[in-house]
Symmetry: D2
Subunit: 418 residues, 4 copies
């Protein structure tokens, strides 16, 4: 294995490690290590809640998940010679759960979790239909995931980092804070909130001088959304073998990563929506000097997915349009049409004996494809969701003989909103 | 070939054929033919503008495209024994351009077209950035498409019907008219409009008694949007070998189809966005009696894509988030984030020498994948667009040596808004 | 469709057509047409037995199949400017059964056949185990094949020409006759024979002056084997979208083709082993001048398979080693180890209720993969055969619950050796 | 990670480990551990020469490779309840190089090797053309392999065990010795030999009482060939996610494995032909009681390959027929036709600047496909070899502009036969 430049001890909390990472974006967080273009190195990553979610049959931990503390990021790592305007090449040579540890209390030690957040604690894509908290624990066997909470499915993980990105410049950070603050101001008391403002109390800022944490923490960006620097993109296809090109906004680029997923469906629809875990990444970095101008990149990452994703050849697919459940016609709303497509898939799976929340958890965790199929046919956009039929232990196709009945087992643990 | 139950003569207009199709949805349009469950049959399909778009180097025809007349549909075809509540199984055994005719004035005779509609005539996904009309003609060589208007690309078509669906019941039609009318009423003079209301003058209603055309035409639904009956879904993956399950709303199901595409990218983003053509479909139908209840289907089609799509293994992908070009933060807007992803792809391709409209036309026509990658990370949704690298005659990947320069040739014909 | 430069009338025999093809290889057979580099054209192809095999439930026609008359080839087609030493580029733009004819007495009219030749009439790969003649008729539905003689399977055809190649020079032809004659001479009375010598009586030599047929026919090469010019390679992967590079041995290259297959497994193991049919090919040709030297090609074709083959993701595979059924150890004999792998697959399928000959016919016709897995591990080579599980209507995987039992139906028709 | 029931210390030789494996097949070798049906466990595996091949630029070690000592196998592992006649299910949950060790003197510590054996020491598939010894060292970066000895290629490894199998019964072992001895007796002094007889001096027999080693070693089977028990099949597709069904010949099944490969082309053509390495396997076992009879299995393994192999979509392919380089016609010899196909591929690659031995080493190591394309077209079989174009850093397709010229660098180290 390559040199591990950010080792984590599974027996210690994120803040008690030899090297301290961070959970906010800010240009003043100093690099925890420096690498050269052409270097290969390993980085350990802690699961995003640092052990708050446990391997049991209750969803109380999901109900009370400490969202102010996320994401636990490894880095930043400076790349020698990187300057604003460059493209940083990041090759994901490998990514996986915590090596050599297949049991233990920490997600990534042979298991991971998917949660449906309650509406009062972040919510999810279908929070109107699923206002309470639910959890599913997934066991890893090689690259295969199974769950006692979602029976009769098994699938190869599409392992990837949910979050990776470069540090913002001060100007870029100011822009984020302005535009997100403006959005919050339109409905400041909304539940769930429209966006998450800076928050100093739970900020962890790596090697930054402690005397600066209050000031920097009160302006550092929360890590929930993806932004110009990549960040929490939750693109399931950033799997082993992927090459990403990130824009560079500060000297050294200051790359960070975390939020590893054993698998995820397109959209990460339950919010805590992938199979969350800690683990490791083996990375190779390089630079295209001046690449942002050369390739027309201002504010986004470019990537080329790897070649070793699980290979499926048959899917059952569901479409949705931009009409609300109440029958209201919305104008070309692809977010809504994907919600409707997912609800149609859930309606279907329920006929096989799954509870609605089991079906929802499955769509969040399995390698489903979510596509923007039609975006111009006024007034309805058309989104589609594709489920590989091979993930089911039974024949999931419609037929004259009717649906197989799954034994729902102990079901998905639930914790109701107070 | 199977029996052709809806033949079209390429030398005659849609309305002068032996059997008359339709261009509106209405339960009173009588079946043009009746088939049995288990039957296999062929249907010819006319291109959606019935020949108004020609194979030349001008975009005047796109500027003035007759949107009131679309889509030219084949059918309806009644299926014996089909009743409301059933699922209609439709197997797409084959679909292709007009057989045995590889040259001529009609799209489908060895060629097809992609258009960018002007803002004053429908617009498109990126109409703010591309307010004028543009056109690209694509030549077919076997399953390969190339264009004199978009040089140095060649790709295997992903041939499919943009539109297929069952007839609505009177109740369902009333629901459509109500909800779409309500939407239009919120901004009745918008350009482009929010939705398209019934319009009797250009309605074509098949074998319906002419005396009824005015009444029925004034309540029949326009075919632009996809709806509960399937319809203009523009799902590029409905290719050869696909099985679709449609809900049945009227006795006989009354299946219709048209809007054939030689290829299309996810979203059909230029509106006239696929490679439009006429051609044929070979279909096999069957029924799952009572299948809507059995499989939890109320208002959507289910489908299983075929196995013979073009196979790619390398893509270059671009992400976008829900921040407008003006920098305004929107809340989890996947429509916007896909627009931004497509604009990022265009910015990139322009660096290789394509004009922005050439790049836009290419994204509409080539088998690109559009994915809803992240839909919960407040406030930014993350959409991604994947372009297969193999469709380019050159190496399209970013590298230290910089982008290859395409010879843009004669470019894409343009016709400006008046 | 492209210009058809070799049309065939399904109602007439191969020798009564407007243009006469050939069934032997000889440099003196004159071109039936001439094309230019860059040209696209259509060619009809007659099934290899010219209608001798019929769509019924008897195998008498297979027992008496007229091997002296094959293959019925379309061509030769001269390419302007082609000279010995060039590489001829042939793009297979399309290939399929007889267009617009889906019923009729000729294979290719909506159906095709697979035969097991009897040992006394050619034999096959497993002739010691299957000395009698058998037949299976396959029906085409779009790209799907099914058979009343091999129940409970259905698969997408991998349509391709079994035979395509350039004309040999006189020198090359002499070399063939010498080396094959030498082989025959080692065991001239063997049944089945070791090779097939020239035979003038049934030779068809296109536009060659009739006065020359006896002389030329007595030296022209039979078309059974693949040779330096390509020829009867029976490579299932030469499907739509394939580009082939043939060596050129005579001025004009003189390309011919035929022996179309709706599908075939690797090896074409039953000899008449694919799903045989007539049909059409759309071709595009070009030249690499001097390409044989430039690319090190002396005596073989190079090819790049197309992108639209049926896509499978799960297979059940069987291995074999080079030990005979009698237990004799052979030295690294990959032919034998593939026989043993196929026999293992047959033993397995028989447990599901198929007759051995049904299983054998299926392996010949379905898109199975045959691989040379190990060729150096003395004394045993290891060959493997992979069957896609998706071609079966039932679950074909081994499990604790034991094999599903197929209803063998009417079985595969048999005609015993006299 | 699962419990490691066969740990190996990289600093110690195979024979000095805590648990001793074996390098011969014999029913009397006692199990080194016992597992239950349903168990998951890890096993370390030593590279087949136990460190004799080193990471340098000389091929002297390949010239003198100690063939009498191979293969170093882990096991045997008994499975509780397994009895002759059962099928043993083995799931390959994971397989990879030595975990957490990416540098060091042992193959598997971040690197592996491919060798061409000299004719006097085993030879290879093309030993007549390549009589001397050559070596290539491959470096691992995540799942990517590159070599300083074979420049301008890089590919994802298709990691698999070359060897896995169950113990033979005494009867089966006697059968092997008889038939292989009979073969050797036909030409006992052949170089390279026809087969490898039992040899007691270098036999390692695990936990068998030392007093028995001479007797048992003199009848135990060498591990070079694959046989009824699986064994050294060198099937490149036994990668992560594969399920294998082995016949059981002795109580407990007594499963053993080793000979790990980071990658291999079909055939493992250079003999030491894959990228050889040590590493680990994570396995899950289960039983189908009486499965041999139920599924018609007498003497072979059945397997279902995994879903996460590297995915390619474009290949350049070469065919070969059963005519020797000297022009002699052989009868349907697929071994020969695959040799000729490989030689054609080498002739082609040489035109790009590779030395013949670099090309040969590449074909052995990269994930090439070797297919039995035609096996019945007397007198020529047709074999084909497919090279994925994406493994090259340059465009490897034939074109009018001629081949790119590779910088062959230091070349592949050579050691000539004395
Ligand atoms: Zn995330
Ligand atoms: Zn996450
Ligand atoms: Zn459409
Ligand atoms: Zn359309
Ligand atoms: Zn053939
Ligand atoms: Zn044939
Ligand atoms: Zn081996
Ligand atoms: Zn090996």
């Amino acid at each position: 294995m390559p040199d591990n430049i950010f080792p984590l001890d599974s027996a210690k909390s994120f803040e008690d490690q030899e090297k301290l990472g961070h959970n906010r974006w800010h240009p003043e967080i100093p690099p925890v290590a420096t690498v050269k273009p052409g270097d290969t190195f390993r980085v350990d990553c802690r699961e995003w809640f640092d052990g708050a979610i446990v391997n049991d049959d209750s969803a109380e931990d999901i109900l009370n998940a400490p969202l102010l503390t996320v994401h636990k990021l490894s880095g930043p790592f400076a790349v020698e010679g990187a300057q604003p305007g460059d493209l940083l090449i990041v090759d994901i040579l490998d990514v996986g759960p915590i090596p050599q540890e297949d049991s233990g209390p920490l997600a990534g030690q042979g298991w991971g979790y998917t949660g449906i957040f309650s509406r009062n604690n972040g919510g999810g894509f279908l929070t109107d239909q699923f206002p309470d908290a639910y959890k599913a624990i997934w066991d890893f066997n090689g690259q295969i995931a199974t769950s006692r909470h979602v029976p009769e499915v098994r699938f190869e993980g599409l392992i990837h980092p949910g979050l990776m990105g470069t540090a913002p410049s001060a100007e870029l950070l100011a822009k984020w804070n302005k535009r997100e603050g403006d959005l919050i101001a339109t409905d400041p008391n909304r539940v769930p909130p429209l966006a998450l403002p800076p928050e100093a109390e739970h900020a962890v800022l790596g090697g930054l001088d402690r005397g600066e944490w209050q000031r920097v923490g009160s302006e550092a960006a929360r890590t929930a959304p993806p932004r110009e620097n990549g960040g929490n993109q939750d693109i399931k296809n950033l799997s082993k073998g992927t090459r990403v090109f990130y824009p560079v906004f500060v000297d050294g680029a200051n790359l960070s990563m975390g939020d590893l997923h054993f698998s995820q469906g397109d959209g990460e629809i339950t919010f805590c929506g992938a199979i969350e875990m800690g683990g490791f990444m083996d990375l190779h970095v390089d630079l295209i000097k001046g690449g942002m101008e050369t390739y027309g990149v201002k504010e986004n990452a470019i990537f080329m997915p790897g070649r070793v994703d699980p290979r499926f050849s048959e899917w059952i697919a569901f479409s949705g349009t931009s009409v609300t459940l109440d029958g209201e016609q919305r104008y070309l709303d692809s977010h809504l049409s994907y919600q409707r497509a997912c609800l149609h898939a859930i309606d279907y799976l329920v006929k096989f004996g799954y509870s609605p929340e089991q079906a929802y958890l499955l769509l969040g965790a399995a390698p489903i494809e979510g596509r923007l199929s039609g975006v111009v046919d006024i007034p309805n956009s058309c989104s589609t969701v594709y489920i590989p039929t091979a993930i089911f232990d039974f024949d999931v196709r419609p037929s004259a003989s009717g649906p197989h009945q799954v034994d729902p087992g102990i079901g998905a643990p639930k914790a109701a909103n107070a």
